[in-house]
C-alpha cells in the first residue's frame, strides 16, 4: 500500500473568490472515482494571489505547487501524478507546475515573521500551530511578570501596524499603569483601506497567532476580556476565527485557568456593519458599545478611558499577531530587522494594476520600486505605470519620481506620503487623477461620521469644487479654493478621516496637475474605459 498523499487547497477568501472551492469539490470527486484516498488540507493562502487557486502537494522533496488551477486542469494534473506522488520528471512536465513552494522566488525573497505560517498550516488545527512554535510565546509569557512582558514588547520596537505606528509597548504601559477592576483588549480588525488585505489573510491563515497575541496582551496589562472587532465584509474570516477560538477554549488556551495557571482571558468576535470610520479606534469602541460609530475627542486616551470607560488596549490584527513571535523569540530578535525607527518586518500588500499582486513581508527599508517591479512585476495591463497610492484611501498618490522612497514610516512621512497599513495600489496611464481626487472626497462624504464640520461639510464641498474644475467653471479660482479647503480639512478635523482625506487630493494636484486642466469635453471616466477591456 502506498502512502496517502497530502494535498493542500486554500480556504482563503481570495482563493475562494477565484474558484478554490470548485477545485476542491472536483478533486474530491475525481479521487473518489479512482478509489484513491487523499489527505486534503484546507490551508490559508501563501499570499501569491496571481497563482490562486494554488494547489500544493507533499512530495518526498518537499511541498510543490501548481497554479492557478481550474477544475478543468485536474484530470491532467492527476495524469501527471498529483494523487500518487509521481516521479519528479512527470510532475515537472505539467504546465502549471511551479516547483517547490518554498523556492518560488517571490516567497524566497521575503522575511516572514508575522506570516511565518500563512498558507503552510491548516488554520484551525491546534496541532499544526503548536508544531510550528505556536504558543511558545504564551508559555513563556505565563512565567513573566506583567512589567517584564511590556518591557519585552518595548524592546522589540513594534509600532502599531494599523497605520498610526504608535509604539505598542508604550500603549500597553499606560494601560498597565492605570488601575481598574476591568480592562479590555480590542483587536481592530476593521481593515477598510482599499489595497490592504493582510489582516484578512492573517486571520484566515493563522488565527491562533492573533488569539495568542491577544492572550499575551491580556496577561501584560491585566485584562481578562478581549474583543475582535471584525468588519462585516469578511465572512470567511469570521467563521475561521470562531472555529479557532472554540478550539482554543476546549484546549485550555482561552477562558479561565489558562494552561493550568490562575490567569483568565475570554475572547469574542464582534461584527461591524459597514462603516469605514469604525476603523478609527474611538469610533470602534462606540460601535462595540452599541452606538453610532462617532469619533470621540482625545483625551481621554482609550488606554485610560476606553471601552465602557475602562482602560483598553486597541491594537491592529498584525500588531497583536506579531506579539506571539516577539514573545516566542524575544524582543531583541524582532528589533534587529528594519531601519531607523521602523523596527521589524512589515507585511506590504501589492494591489491594483499589478502583474503579481500579493503579500510581501520584509524588513522595513525596501524601496517602493522594488515592491512594485521586482515583486509586483509592473502593471497587469502592460501599460506604463503612472501613479501609486500608498497607505489606503487616505494616502497620497505618488508619481514615478517618488518610487525610490524607502518603505519606512519616517521616510515616507517626510515626503508627505503615508505608509499606513502597508498597502500599495498601482494605476497605469489610463488613470484620470482628477477622478481619483474626486473619489477621495466622495468616499469621505459616504464614510464621514459627521461629528466635525471640516470632514462632514468639507468633503461635500470638495466634490462640488472638483466638479466645477472638471466643467471648467472659473478653473483657476476653484483650484485655489480646493487647496484652501484641503488645508482646512487637514488642520480642522477631529480625526484622520477628515484630516487625511486631502492627502490623495493634494498629491494629485501636486504631481498630476495636468489632469485638472483637461477639458470637460472628455467625460469624467472616459480615460478609464480601456482599463476594463
Amino acid at each position: 500500500m502506498t502512502a496517502i498523499v497530502k494535498i493542500y487547497i486554500p480556504r482563503d477568501s481570495a482563493a475562494l473568490s477565484v474558484g478554490a472551492e470548485r477545485v476542491n469539490k472536483k478533486l474530491i470527486q475525481l479521487a473518489a472515482e479512482q478509489d484513491t484516498v487523499i489527505d486534503l488540507v484546507r490551508n490559508g493562502s501563501r499570499g501569491l494571489f496571481w497563482l490562486e487557486p494554488m494547489v500544493e502537494v507533499d512530495t518526498p522533496e518537499g511541498r510543490v505547487a501548481y497554479g492557478p488551477v481550474a477544475p478543468k486542469d485536474l484530470p491532467s494534473l492527476i495524469e501527471a501524478g498529483l494523487l500518487n506522488n509521481a516521479v519528479p520528471a512527470e510532475r515537472q512536465a505539467h504546465p502549471l507546475y511551479l516547483g517547490l513552494t518554498e523556492e518560488i522566488d517571490y516567497l524566497k525573497k521575503q522575511q516572514r515573521l508575522t506570516f511565518a505560517r500563512a498558507g503552510i498550516i491548516d488554520p484551525v488545527s491546534l496541532t499544526d500551530y503548536k508544531s510550528t512554535h505556536g504558543y511558545d510565546g504564551l508559555v513563556r509569557a505565563l512565567e513573566m511578570s506583567s512589567q517584564a512582558l511590556v518591557d519585552e514588547v518595548k524592546e522589540s520596537g513594534l509600532r502599531g501596524r494599523g497605520g498610526a505606528a504608535f509604539p505598542t509597548g508604550i500603549k500597553w504601559q499606560t494601560v498597565l499603569n492605570t488601575p481598574a477592576a476591568q480592562k479590555y483588549i480590542i483587536c481592530n480588525a476593521d481593515e477598510g483601506d482599499s489595497g490592504t488585505f493582510a489582516d484578512r489573510l492573517q486571520m484566515e491563515a493563522d488565527p491562533f497567532a492573533l488569539i495568542e497575541g491577544m492572550t499575551i496582551a491580556g496577561l501584560a496589562v491585566d485584562a481578562t476580556q478581549g474583543y475582535i472587532y471584525l468588519r462585516e465584509e469578511y465572512p470567511h474570516a469570521k467563521d475561521i476565527l470562531n472555529e479557532a477560538i472554540s478550539v482554543a477554549e476546549q484546549n485550555g488556551y482561552l477562558g479561565e485557568n489558562i494552561l493550568g495557571s490562575d490567569k483568565t482571558f475570554h475572547l469574542e468576535v464582534r461584527i461591524g456593519a459597514k462603516a469605514y470610520i469604525c476603523g478609527e479606534e474611538t469610533a470602534l469602541m462606540e460601535s462595540l458599545e452599541g452606538k453610532r460609530g462617532m469619533v470621540r475627542p482625545k483625551p481621554p486616551l482609550p488606554a485610560i478611558e476606553g471601552l465602557f470607560g475602562q482602560p483598553t488596549v486597541v491594537n491592529n490584527v498584525l500588531s497583536l499577531s506579531t506579539i506571539a513571535i516577539i514573545l516566542a523569540k524575544g524582543g531583541k530578535f524582532y528589533q534587529e530587522f528594519g531601519m531607523g525607527r521602523s523596527r521589524g518586518t512589515m507585511p506590504f500588500q501589492l494591489a491594483g494594476n499589478l502583474k503579481y499582486p500579493g503579500l510581501v513581508e520584509t524588513a522595513f527599508g525596501i524601496t517602493m520600486k522594488e515592491l512594485l517591479f521586482d515583486f509586483g512585476g509592473g502593471t497587469r495591463s502592460g501599460k506604463p505605470m503612472r501613479s501609486v497610492q500608498s497607505g489606503g484611501p487616505l494616502g497620497a498618490y505618488l508619481p514615478e519620481s517618488q518610487w525610490h522612497l524607502e518603505m519606512d514610516y519616517e521616510a515616507l512621512a517626510a515626503e508627505g506620503a503615508v505608509l499606513g497599513h502597508g498597502g500599495l495600489v498601482a494605476f497605469d496611464d489610463s488613470v484620470d487623477m482628477l477622478e481619483q481626487a474626486r473619489f477621495s472626497m466622495e468616499f469621505c462624504v459616504e464614510e464621514s461620521c459627521g461629528k466635525c464640520t471640516p470632514c462632514r461639510i468639507g468633503s461635500t464641498r470638495g466634490v462640488e469644487v472638483i466638479d466645477r474644475i472638471r466643467a471648467d467653471e472659473n478653473r483657476d479660482d476653484n483650484l485655489e479654493l480646493l487647496e484652501d479647503l484641503c488645508d482646512t480639512m487637514v488642520s480642522g478635523s477631529l480625526c484622520a478621516m477628515g484630516g487625511m482625506t486631502p492627502f490623495p487630493v493634494q498629491s494629485a494636484l501636486q504631481y498630476f496637475g495636468e489632469d485638472f486642466q483637461k477639458d470637460a469635453g472628455a467625460s469624467p471616466s472616459s480615460s478609464n474605459q480601456e482599463a476594463g477591456q
Binding site: I271, K274, A275, R292
Partner: protein
C-alpha cells in the same frame, strides 16, 4: 447617510427577501425580535449583535422592531434608529432575495472597477440600493472586500468573487435569476 438613496421599488409583501423567506407580518416580527432579545440583551454592548440577528432572520430591520428593541435596552426608539441609519449594512426596507455588492474602491478602480459598476447598473437596470421589480436582486456598493489582489471584486451573500468582468457578471446574475421550483411554487402563501 444612505437612506436618501434607498428609493428602490417599494416591495409588496408577497416576495422572498434576503433572509430567504417571505416577509414577516407584525406578529412574526414581534416574536422573532423577542426571542433575539432574550438571547442577546444582557451581553455587553448588545445593540449591534441584536440588529445583525434581526436582519439575518427577517432580511431587514423593520421600523416596527425599533421600539421593542429600545424598550428592552432602556434606550429611546430614536437612538436605535440612529444606529440603524448610521451603518450601511443595516437596511430599514426589505431587499431582494440576492444582494449583489460591487466594490467601488481604488484597487478595483485600477483594473476596470468603474466599468464594472456601470455595467452592473446597466445590466440590472438598478442604481445603488435599488431592488429589481421581480424582487430578486438588490444592488449595493461596497468599499473594499479585502480582495484587492484579485480585483475587481463583487460579493453576493457570503461569497466573494474576484477577477470579475462584465461577461462573468452576466453569467452569475443569470444563475441567480434561475429560481428553484420550491421557491417559486406558491408565493402567495407568505404574507
Amino acid at each position: 447617510m444612505t437612506d436618501a438613496n434607498r428609493q428602490g421599488a417599494e416591495l409588496d409583501t408577497q416576495v422572498l427577501t434576503s433572509n430567504g423567506k417571505g416577509l414577516a407580518n407584525q406578529a412574526e416580527i414581534e416574536s422573532v425580535v423577542a426571542n433575539i432579545l432574550v438571547e442577546l440583551k444582557d451581553i455587553p454592548g448588545p445593540l449591534l449583535p441584536i440588529l445583525h440577528e434581526v436582519q439575518k432572520q427577517l432580511g431587514y430591520v423593520p421600523d416596527s422592531s425599533l421600539p421593542i428593541i429600545g424598550k428592552a435596552l432602556n434606550i429611546s426608539r430614536a437612538e436605535v434608529h440612529g444606529v440603524v441609519s448610521f451603518y450601511h449594512h443595516f437596511s430599514s426596507k426589505p431587499r431582494g432575495r440576492h444582494i449583489i455588492e460591487v466594490c467601488r474602491a481604488e484597487s478595483c478602480q485600477s483594473v476596470g472597477g468603474r466599468d464594472l459598476e456601470s455595467h452592473a447598473k446597466a445590466a440590472l437596470g438598478l442604481d445603488w440600493y435599488q431592488t429589481s421589480l421581480d424582487k430578486e436582486i438588490t444592488l449595493e456598493p461596497v468599499f473594499c472586500l479585502g480582495n484587492c489582489a484579485c480585483s475587481p471584486a463583487i460579493r453576493i451573500g457570503e461569497e466573494v468573487y474576484g477577477r470579475m468582468d462584465a461577461e462573468q457578471f452576466d453569467e452569475i446574475v443569470d444563475e441567480l435569476r434561475t429560481v428553484p421550483l420550491a421557491f417559486s411554487a406558491n408565493p402567495t402563501e407568505v404574507k
